[in-house]
Amino acid sequence: MLSFIIRRLLIIIPMALLVITVTWGLIRLAPGTFYSTEKKLPPAVEANIKKKYGLDQPVWKQYLLMLGNITCRTKSADETTTSGVQFAIGSVNVKCFDFGDSLKYPDRSVNQIIRDHLPYSATIGILAYILALVVGLGAGIIAALKQNSAFDYGSMTFAMLGLSVPNFVLGPILVSIFSLTLYLFPPARFGGVSSLVLPVITLAAIYMAYIARLTRAGMLEVMRSDYIRTARAKGLNEKTVLLKHGLRGGIIPVVSYTGPALAALLAGTVVVERVFAIPGLGTMFIQSILNRDEPLTLGIVAFLSIMIMVFNLIVDISYGFLDPRIRYE
C-alpha cells in the first residue's frame, strides 16, 4: 500500500509538467495577447512590451525559462525577486516554484495571488462540501431505506429541483428573497458569517442533489446484494448492516464523484463568485485565461492539477477501505 502511494505521488510531478506544457502551448496558440486592448498599440510600444517580457526571444528559450522558473533553477545575483522557494546549496543560489508576476496585475506575483485568493474559495468550497455531504448523504440513505415513501419522493423531488435550477438562477433567486425583500443577509461581498450563508447554499445545492441521488442509487444497489443478505441472515441488527456494510459499498459512486468535485470546489466556482462578488480563485482562473495572463493561468493550472491528482489518489485509497474486495497490487 505504501509503495503504491509513493509511486502515485511521484508520478504527479511529470503529469503536472505535462499538463503545464500542454496549457502553455494552448496559450501560445490562442489568438490575442495579454496587452491587446480596444486601442491599437503603436509598433514602438508593442516592441517595448515584447522586450520587457522576453517575448522577443526564441520560443524554445521562453519555454525552457518558464519550465526552469516553475521547477528549480539557479538564481543569478542581479535578480531581486523574492517569490517562490529560495535557498542556497554551497555558493549557488537556487530558486524554485516561482511562477513569476502576473501580466495583467504586474504588482503581484502569481504565488501571492494564489495565496491571497485561495482562502476565499476554500472557505466557501469546504463549507459547501460539508453541507452537501451531510445533507446529501443523509437524504440519500433515508430515501434508499424508505424506498417509495413520501420522504423518498419528497427528497428526490427536491434533489431534482436542485439540479434543474442551475446555480446562476438559484443565487439571484435567493438574493431577491433573503437580501432584497427580507433584508436578512447581505446580497454580495465577503465579510462575516452572514455573508457566507447564501453563497454556500447556492454552491452546495447542486452537489447536494448529486450526492443525494448517487447515494440513493448506490445504496439501493448494495442493499440488494448478496453480502447484505448474508449479513442480515447472520442476524446482525439493521443499523449495523446499514452503516457497516451497506453504506461502505453504497457510497463508492459518491466517492468517485466527490474527489474531483472537492478539488473543483476548493479552486472556486466562477458563477457563485461572480453572483456574490467573492474574490475567489475561480474568477481569477477564468479571467486569467480570458486575459491571456500566461503566468497566472499556468500557476493556477499547476495548483489545480496537483489538487485533482491528489484527491483522486485519496479516492483510490479510500476505495480499499470502503470495500475490502478492492485491492491494489
Binding site: M15, A30, S164, P172, R213, I252, S305, Y319, R325
Partner: protein, 290 residues
C-alpha cells in the same frame, strides 16, 4: 415519458406552427420602435415577449431544439465513452488502469476554456482546415458556418463530459469485479469483453444512469457558457440555458423571461429523470425477469 415525447414533438414542429398561425418567429424583432420591449404574457404571446419584442414561446421552442439535442447527444457520448473506458480500466486493473486513469486526470486538468478558445480559432474561423469544411458541407447541407459550429460544440462537450463518468464506472467495477458472479463467469470461460459488457456493466448501471441523467442539465449549462466564447447556438437564436441565464438578470422586472424557459427546462429534466429511473429498472439484472 409522455411529457418528454410531447416536448420533443413541440420543439420539432412548434416553431413552424407558430409561424404559420401567428407569424412570429424566434428572431422577428418588430419594426415599430414602441413594440420593441418586453410585454407580459397575453393571448397573442402566451409566454410574453423578450426585450427585443420577440415572442418567447417561439424562442423557447426554438431553443429546445439545440438544448435537447446537446443534452441527449452529449450524454450518449459520455455514456458510450465513459462507460467503456471506465469499465475497461476498472476490470483490467494494474498498469493499464493506472495509465488510463492518469490520462483522465491530465485531460481533466487542462483548462477547458482555453482548449475551446484554441479549437474555435483553429476550426471555427476563417482558418478552418479543408477536411472539416468538407465534412460540414457533406453533413450540413446549408453550407454556412452554423453546422461547423454544431460539430465543434459536440466535440467540445463530448471532450469533457465522459471524464467523471469514467471515474464513477471504474469505481463501481472495482468493487464488482471480485464478486462471485464474475468469478463464476470467468471460470466458465466467458471472454474478457463478455465479462465487462455482459456481466459487470449491467450491474453497475444504477449509479451510471443516475449520473447520466445528472449529466444532461450540466451539459445544457456548459452549452450556455460556451456560447459566451462564441461556440454553440448563434444569436439571434438561443438555447434554454442562455434564455434562462439572460432571463435571470431581469427576474425582478420581467419574471416571465425567466419562468417560462426555466419551467420548460425543469419539466424536461424531470421527465428525462423518470425515463432514466425506468430504464434502470428495466435493465437491472437483479430485477429483470427471465
Amino acid at each position: 415519458m409522455i411529457v418528454l415525447g410531447l416536448m420533443v414533438l413541440a420543439v420539432a414542429f412548434g416553431p413552424a406552427i407558430i409561424r404559420w398561425t401567428t407569424g412570429f418567429t424566434a428572431d422577428s424583432i418588430p419594426s415599430d420602435g414602441d413594440l420593441i420591449k418586453s410585454f407580459p404574457p397575453s393571448w397573442q404571446h402566451p409566454m410574453g415577449t423578450d426585450e427585443a419584442g420577440r415572442d418567447m414561446l417561439a424562442r423557447v421552442l426554438q431553443g429546445g431544439r439545440i438544448s435537447l439535442m446537446v443534452g441527449i447527444i452529449s450524454t450518449l457520448v459520455s455514456l458510450v465513452i465513459g462507460v467503456s473506458y471506465g469499465a475497461i480500466a476498472g476490470y483490467m486493473g494494474g498498469r493499464i488502469d493506472n495509465l488510463m486513469m492518469r490520462i483522465v486526470d491530465i485531460i481533466y486538468s487542462i483548462p477547458y476554456i482555453l482548449l475551446v478558445v484554441v479549437l474555435l480559432s483553429v476550426f471555427g474561423g476563417q482558418n478552418t482546415p479543408e477536411w472539416i469544411q468538407w465534412l460540414s458541407a457533406r453533413f450540413g447541407g446549408a453550407g454556412n458556418q452554423g453546422l461547423n459550429q454544431i460539430f465543434l460544440l459536440f466535440f467540445a462537450l463530448g471532450l469533457i463530459s465522459w471524464l467523471t463518468m469514467a471515474r464513477v464506472v471504474r469505481g463501481q467495477i472495482l468493487s464488482l469485479k471480485n464478486q462471485e458472479f464474475v468469478q463464476a463467469a470467468r471460470a466458465t470461460g466467458v471472454s474478457t469483453f463478455g465479462i465487462i459488457f455482459r456481466h459487470l456493466v449491467p450491474n453497475a448501471l444504477g449509479p451510471v444512469i443516475v449520473y447520466a441523467t445528472l449529466t444532461i442539465p450540466s451539459v445544457m449549462l456548459s452549452e450556455a457558457f460556451l456560447s459566451f466564447l462564441g461556440l454553440g447556438v448563434q444569436a439571434p437564436y438561443a438555447s434554454w440555458g442562455s434564455l434562462a441565464s439572460d432571463g435571470i438578470k431581469n427576474i425582478g422586472i420581467f419574471p416571465w423571461q425567466m419562468i417560462f424557459p426555466g419551467v420548460t427546462m425543469a419539466l424536461t429534466l424531470f421527465s428525462l429523470n423518470f425515463v432514466g429511473d425506468g430504464l434502470r429498472d428495466a435493465l437491472d439484472p437483479q430485477t429483470r425477469k427471465f
